[in-house]
């Protein structure tokens, strides 16, 4: 039996692991490490610092996270929010927080940054956004992700009245795409495909946004 609850401070380590694994998108490539030329440990420290600061309006805001449990054990996590509800895009707020915690540690590689910008799909204001969807390896194929998605969408639809939910993923992540399609999400937008030459930097060469219209 899967239960879903709001995340708490004690979940930060689990959520951080979930964010990193979701970013890797089923590969061993952590884009943030490659872009900023930092280790996975350093990236995890920055994610934890942002989660602890509780900066609203961007995806790494602790109150946006839900935790799925099976037999009292954490089985998965996801974050969900309504984009731009505060009038400022979540991606820019996250970039501002990252700029602070990265400080002078990172090396500006404009070529890598330019590449990643090319597969960016801007999030639509007013839509429910689902991100960092993660299932712990011990609980795969048990419906954890779909339970999290259903709970988060229902909760946010009820509290905000939003009528569309969207998920962005790497286009090469066929398993995730199939799982989201089974939850009723359909491809809505697709970025430029940068080809295999970027696969040393990113877990995929293009992005897809899937979305679902929610009935009132």
């Amino acid at each position: 039996m899967i239960s879903v609850r709001k995340a708490e401070l004690g979940d930060i380590d689990f959520i951080t692991e979930g964010i990193v694994q979701a970013e890797k998108s089923g590969t061993e490539i952590l884009g943030y490490s490659k872009i900023f030329q930092l280790s996975e440990t350093e990236i995890k420290e920055i994610i934890q610092q942002i989660l602890e600061e509780e900066i609203e309006g961007q995806e790494w805001y602790l109150p946006y996270f839900f935790i799925a449990e099976i037999d009292g054990q954490r089985a998965g996590s996801l974050c969900a929010w309504v984009e731009n509800s505060g009038g400022h895009p979540g991606s820019l707020i996250k970039a501002q927080a990252m700029a602070y915690f990265l400080g002078e540690k990172w090396h500006n590689n404009s070529e890598n940054i330019g590449l990643i910008s090319r597969i960016n799909i801007p999030r639509a204001a007013g839509q429910i956004q689902l991100e960092c969807i993660y299932t712990h390896p011990n609980y795969r194929k048990m419906g954890v992700a779909s339970a999290l998605i259903e709970h988060a969408v229902n909760t946010l639809q009820e509290t905000t009245g939003a009528n569309t939910a969207a998920i962005q993923l790497m286009g090469n992540n066929h398993a995730a795409l199939k799982a989201y399609e089974q939850c009723g999400f359909l491809e809505a937008r697709r970025s430029e495909d940068l080809g295999d030459s970027v696969l040393h930097l990113l877990p995929g060469s293009f992005k897809i946004e899937v979305s679902k219209h929610l009935h009132g």
Binding site: I35, E53, I55, G87, H88, P89, S91, L92, I93, K94, A95, Q96, A97, M98, A99, Y100, L102, G103, W106, N108, S110, I113, I116, S117, N120, P122
Partner: protein, 81 residues
């Protein structure tokens, strides 16, 4: 450093980062108005502004910035000391 000097310096930085030679700095300018202004170029912009003006933003200052006017005011405030 007065406001006009900050604007002139920012304009050069912004034109370079966002690859737009015609970009004009106004106080109401936001990412919505500039084609290449996304999350990653935003991060680059913050790092370049800090380096160029010799300042370090506080987290609260960064999160409070909603447009270029806020950025100019924060730079001006920090350059007073």
């Amino acid at each position: 450093m007065d406001k006009q000097e900050i604007i002139t310096k920012l304009e050069t930085l912004f034109r370079n980062i966002f690859q737009d030679d015609n970009l004009i700095i106004t106080e109401s300018l936001t990412a919505n108005d500039v084609e290449k202004w996304d999350s990653l170029s935003h991060l680059t912009m913050i790092a370049e502004v800090e380096k160029s003006f010799g300042i370090r933003f506080k987290l609260k200052e960064l999160i409070g910035m909603k447009n270029v006017g806020d950025l100019i005011d924060t730079i001006q405030e920090k350059r007073k000391f």
